[in-house]
């Protein structure tokens, strides 16, 4: 028999969440075949069968939180006894406050027949509605906390059959949905956002830049071979690179009271996926042409969405850009990707009135929201960066002509 363990994917990974099982108990598997997915706080990973054989036993279900190196399942020959390989007890995941003791009003024992004869002293019976070990195991295995439940055992003891019945009836019976346990990724995002807000002095400045150049350039790209997939967002990124080159103070991190200036410009860009926010990083953007940036963004975004982006591509950003323009957001207050000192939010392109030659014209204008860390970047320098960026965006056609 061969036990299959949860691998340690990434240096800091201590536990993973079991994702989808591609095979079920009793299936034949061949060496190298994918049998399940697991998910770390950063990415997901496929588990392949180390040997061929029959999948004899599966010890964890989708959604279970499992420490690394835990035996996930066993492959072997039918008939082999897997008993010794499984977890010693089917323990409920440790970090779930919702699995507390189940309150049961005393005397709710359903199904108890005629009262016990005199002589049954109450303090010898277990506390009202205690769960039998078998019932507890059922609850743990099914991740089931049913709330009030009647026990059919002596003295109202809750037996496995009682839990089984409650479990079967659960969806209809519960009025409010049980609190949902969050995924690893969500937990990570939550933590990082909290930390960012609580350890920095964030402020956001809004401006807008004329988008005519962006639109025109986009039309031109569409007509050029090999450039058709470059988006407005890619162009904005390109402009950000140029702006950072001019005002490198924003290409920095504030770590333990020290400003760490970076020579490389690694742009992180926010990417929305089913599992939550990912921020892939395009490395060394200062060396890249716009089409290279665009290709890189497209590739990384795809991987993030699919869930197989390499962990290294999620690290090392020096400045982050978050684009919500396609969702109609005009301006917003992006949260710093701490310890970076700046993050740019990009909004939608809207019509805006401007004075031109004594008259009023309506132009396309793209929203720009820059959040800076006031610990490092004061309002004026921050504003100047925004001004420079806006200028780059308005002159993007020239920039690209030069940078092609």
């Amino acid at each position: 028999m061969t036990p299959v363990e949860v691998p340690k994917v990434g240096n800091t990974v201590e536990e993973c969440i079991v994702g989808e099982w591609r095979k079920k108990k009793g299936d034949e598997v061949t060496e190298g075949e994918v049998i399940a997915e697991i998910e770390t706080d950063k990415t997901s990973f496929e588990i392949t069968a180390p040997v061929s054989g029959t999948l004899l036993e599966i010890f964890f279900q989708q959604g279970d939180l499992v420490p690394v190196f835990t035996t996930l399942c066993v492959i072997g020959e039918p008939g082999e006894n897997t008993g010794t390989l499984g977890p010693a007890t089917a323990a409920a995941p440790a970090d779930t406050p919702s699995q507390g003791p189940i309150p049961v009003p005393a005397g709710s024992a359903v199904g108890v027949a005629a009262a016990s004869p005199v002589g049954s002293s109450p303090d010898l019976q277990a506390p009202a509605a205690a769960l039998s070990p078998r019932a507890q195991r059922f609850a743990a295995e099914h991740n089931f906390s049913p709330g009030t439940i009647a026990g059919s055992g002596p003295g109202g003891r809750v037996l496995e059959a009682d839990l089984r019945a409650a479990y079967a009836a659960a969806p209809a019976a519960t009025a409010a949905p049980a609190p949902e346990r969050v995924s690893n990724i969500r937990e990570t995002i939550a933590r990082r956002m909290r930390e960012s807000l609580s350890t920095t002095a964030q402020y956001t400045m809004h401006t807008s830049a004329g988008a005519g150049g962006l639109l025109a350039l986009r039309a031109r790209f569409k007509a050029s071979p090999g450039m058709g997939s470059i988006t407005i967002g890619d162009m904005v990124l390109f402009c950000v690179v140029k702006a950072l080159q001019e005002i490198p103070a924003l290409n920095a991190e504030f770590i333990e009271g020290r400003i760490v200036r970076h020579t490389e410009i690694n742009l992180g860009f926010a990417c929305d996926t089913d599992r939550g926010l990912f921020v892939p990083v395009v490395k060394q953007c200062q060396k890249l042409a716009i089409q290279e940036i665009s290709a890189k963004v497209a590739q990384l975004a795809k991987q993030a969405v699919q869930g197989n982006i390499p962990p290294d591509d999620l690290k090392g950003a020096t400045f982050t850009v978050s684009n919500l323009g396609s969702l109609g957001i005009e301006g917003f207050t992006p949260i710093l990707n701490s310890p970076q000192v700046g993050i740019l939010g990009v909004g939608a392109i809207q019509l805006k009135p401007v004075r031109i030659n004594g008259g009023i014209a309506l132009i396309d204008s793209i929203g720009l929201s820059l959040t800076c860390d006031h610990q490092v970047i004061d309002g004026a320098p921050g504003a100047r960066f925004l001004q420079v960026l806006a200028g780059k965006i308005e002159k993007v056609e020239e920039l690209c002509a030069v940078g092609t």
Binding site: T89, A90, G111, V112, A113, A114, S116, P117, G119, S120, S121, L124, Q125, S132, P133, R134, A135, Q136, R137, S152, G153, P154, R157, L159, E160, A161
Partner: protein, 815 residues
């Protein structure tokens, strides 16, 4: 009760008197002409060697050092300084075929017997024995340091093995597992010493029985002390050994009375009490012989301080025994200078007394006799004494050396490995088994042939008289082994003629000669003791106790002898003994108890309790093919039950059931009921009830085995059902079922929907048969217990109080 012996009223009431003849006391007159010079030298050397052997032990016990060797001996040492002449005299005329069984004070006896045997055996045979004994484990350390004559090597071998054994070393005769009080060495005719006072008194008759039944040469000597004649088992052993039937009913060709000599090493003291003048009334142990049989056991009282007197007495007793006129009793007067044990401050005897006996020292007296008669010159005596002293001291040093003579390590599993021998032995000898008739012609065999062996006969339940029942099953299994193993014998109370109190042996009287099936006296200690002795000698034996309640009568023999000799001999002696014990019913307080718990508790016994014909035959077959002692419990409630579970019936041919395997008698899903003994049938009735009234399907598992026990099927069932109730007819407190319940709780905790519940008889005496339903578990009790403690049954009203409160109340009252 042979009908051939008629009790005639006229004869019985006629006037007459009982006559006794004088018992000789110290009647020996010295006759040196009967001994060669080398004989006398041998006697001298052996006495000196023994004296030195014991002196070494005495010194290191008291001072922790002797002649430069420091050693702290932590174990017991019951020394016999002063008794050398008796030991040497005893052993002088015995051959290796003569077997001695001893007491806790038998160092001198085993040394003397060994020296005597060594002188009689050829060099080739000695080498074979020493090299073959545990693959030379004892010989090894000795022969690397000595390269002289084989006989001298053999002396050293034995002295070294004896010291090693006393010091609990692996190089000891019993690998250190027997110690001072249990040492033995079978190749020299030295059988186990017994730490239980008088223990050999009930075992040795069994050994003598073995010689008689299997026509083996030699006699058996039980070396026991004067105070041991206060012990019941000794009297029972004497009774068993002196049965008339050996000479009046058994085949004359076998040889007559048992060839056993009860040799009383009369040193005038128990531990401190004095049998003569204080704790007993017979004054001379020899007097006891006069009360036992018309031969007065050929009793004599001899001077144990004169080795020649003892030699002479033994010569004559041995001849009497070999003529088939045994048993015999010898009262050998001796005295120990050393205390009972090293902690003995001799507060019970006057210093003057000890001094006077030291003056009368037998070794010095013998020396004077040799010198004065000219038989041996002083220098020869001195050099011989120095030589043997040096040899003994050398072997002591070797044995004390932890490097040369290591102990088994503290994490060794050796003791566990020798608790049971777990061997298969088809037969212990090759002669043709003896029968009085062809088994095929036997009426019982024919009767059984006509019986129905299946639960149903053409779809209908089988009437009791036609059913092949539990009795028949045991009979068939025993018959099978009787026909293969010529050493196999059976005995107990009312076994022959009556056919056993419960008719298990009906028909065997016609089938088997007396020596293979006979009635014992009402002497339970002797019954079990003789079985142990018979087994130790290497024969298969089935002894019977008519009621489990009588186990107390054979307590020492079951719990200190039968259970322990395999381990105490470090696996060198098997004990192929089956002890059939019948559990009573309807016979009241002293005849209805189920004492399986006692046999379960004492390590070293295999214990089974089959209650169906299929199980009984298969398990008896397995027991009779093994080498371990098996307590085979039977229930009087169900001897006449046919096979109700095995649909294919009880096979006519041979089959065995593993003695550790429980048996699922009925499969079910909702709860598990585990049973032991006839409570199986109670559980079946309860299971039927549960199914019919409550739609619950109970799985019923019959343990069949008490020890060893395979838990896997039990755990598998409890894992499935989550609920388990255990029931047996023994009283609830301390029953086997409590141990099983506790272990199941450990093994299947997370599968449990409720705690394992044990139901047993009330912790009372058994009331009269008419009131038994108040005492023994009834089917209703099981439902009551299930309802109260495992799973309330809809609409059920319990008839008895099975609540936890009641459990606690009874416990606090001790009932």
């Amino acid at each position: 009760m042979p009908k051939s012996i008629i009790i005639e009223p006229e004869k019985v009431f006629a006037e007459s008197s009982i006559h006794f003849s004088d018992i000789p006391v110290n009647a020996y007159h010295t006759d040196l002409s009967a001994f060669s010079q080398s004989d006398l030298l041998a006697i001298w050397e052996d006495m000196c060697a023994i004296r030195e052997f014991e002196t070494v032990l005495n010194e290191i016990k008291l001072k922790q050092t002797y002649r430069g060797i420091t050693y702290n001996h932590a174990g017991p040492a019951h020394l016999s300084i002063g008794q050398e002449a008796s030991a040497v005299g005893m052993a002088f005329g015995l051959t290796p075929d003569d077997h001695i069984y001893g007491s806790h004070r038998s160092h001198g006896e085993i040394l003397a017997k060994a020296f005597s045997a060594i002188r009689q055996l050829s060099d080739a045979r000695l080498l074979e024995i020493m090299q073959g004994y545990r693959d030379g484990a004892i010989l090894g350390p000795v022969e690397t340091r000595y390269s002289g004559a084989v006989k001298e090597l053999a002396f050293r071998f034995f002295v070294y093995g004896a010291y090693s054994e006393i010091f609990a070393r692996e190089t000891g005769l019993n690998r250190g597992l027997g110690g001072s009080m249990h040492a033995f060495f079978a190749p020299f005719g030295i059988y186990p010493n017994n730490a239980i006072v008088g223990g050999s008194g009930s075992l040795a008759p069994g050994a003598a029985l073995f010689k008689r039944v299997n026509r083996k040469p030699g006699i058996v000597v039980a070396n026991i002390g004067d105070a041991s004649f206060g012990c019941g088992p000794v009297w029972e052993g004497i009774t068993f050994a002196s049965m008339d039937q050996y000479r009046s009913l058994w085949d004359e060709a076998l040889g007559g009375g048992l060839p056993i000599l009860f040799h009383c090493m009369n040193n005038h003291y128990g531990m401190g009490g004095q049998p003569c003048g204080e704790t007993m009334g017979c004054r001379f142990i020899a007097r006891i012989g006069a009360g036992v049989n018309p031969d007065q056991m050929h009793a004599e009282r001899v001077n144990g301080y004169d080795p020649l007197a003892v030699i002479d007495a033994f010569r004559r007793k041995k001849r009497v025994l070999l003529e088939g006129k045994g048993p015999a009793l010898l009262d050998t007067i001796t005295y120990r200078i050393s205390g009972h044990s090293p902690s003995d401050a001799s507060s019970y005897r006057a210093k003057e007394e000890i001094e006077r006996w030291a003056q009368a020292d037998s070794i010095e007296a013998f020396r004077r006799e040799m010198e004065e008669s000219g038989a041996l010159p002083a220098d020869k005596l001195d050099s011989a004494r120095d030589r043997v002293r040096a040899m003994v001291f050398e072997m002591f040093s070797l044995a004390a050396d932890l490097e040369a003579s290591p102990r088994i390590s503290l994490d060794s599993e050796l003791v566990g490995e020798v608790m049971f021998s777990n061997r298969r032995v088809e037969k212990f000898d090759d002669r043709a088994p003896e029968f009085l008739q062809d088994p095929a012609a036997n009426s019982r065999v024919q009767q059984i042939r006509g019986k129905i062996r299946t639960p149903l006969d053409q779809g209908k339940p089988v009437p009791k008289m036609k059913a092949y029942n539990v009795r028949d099953a045991i009979f068939e299994a025993m018959l099978h082994r009787f026909a293969i193993d010529p050493t196999m014998i059976a005995f107990g109370e009312e076994n022959r003629d009556w056919g056993g109190a419960f008719a298990v042996y009906r028909g065997m009287t016609e089938l088997l000669p007396y020596h293979r099936l006979f009635n014992s006296p009402i002497s339970e200690a002797a019954i079990v003791g003789a079985a142990v002795g018979y087994g130790l000698e290497g024969g298969r034996v089935v002894a019977e106790l008519m009621y489990a309640d009588f186990m107390g009568r054979a307590g020492d023999e079951i719990f200190n002898q039968l259970s322990k000799w395999q381990a105490m001999s470090a696996g060198q002696l098997p004990l192929p003994v089956v002890l059939r014990i019948s559990v009573g019913a309807k016979y009241g307080a002293q005849h209805s108890q189920d004492w399986t718990a006692l046999a379960h508790h004492i390590p070293g016994l295999k214990v089974v309790y089959p209650v169906t014909p299929y199980d009984a035959k298969g398990m008896m077959n397995a027991a009779l093919a093994g080498s371990d002692p098996v307590i085979f419990f039977e229930s009087q409630k169900i001897y006449d039950y046919g096979e109700l579970f095995m649909e294919s019936g009880v096979p006519e041919g041979y089959y065995e059931i593993d003695l550790a395997e429980p048996s699922v008698k009925r499969k079910g899903q909702d709860l598990t009921i585990i049973t032991l003994g006839p409570a199986l049938y109670t559980a079946i009735a309860a299971a039927d009830n549960l199914a019919a009234q409550f739609g619950l399907s109970a799985e019923v598992i019959d343990l069949r085995s008490v020890n060893p026990l395979n838990y896997a099927p039990l755990v598998e069932s409890v894992r499935r059902t989550g609920k388990v109730l255990l029931v047996s007819d023994s009283v609830e407190r301390g029953s086997v079922m409590q141990t099983v319940a506790s272990n199941l709780t450990q093994l299947a905790f997370d599968s449990l929907d409720g705690p394992p519940v044990v139901v047993g008889s009330r912790n009372w005496i058994t009331p009269a048969a008419e009131l038994e339903a108040t005492f023994f578990p009834q089917p209703g009790w099981l439902l009551d217990a299930i309802h109260e403690r495992i799973l309330p049954l809809k609409g059920y009203r319990p008839g008895t109080n099975q609540t936890l409160g009641e459990l606690a109340r009874r416990a606090s009252l001790g009932i």
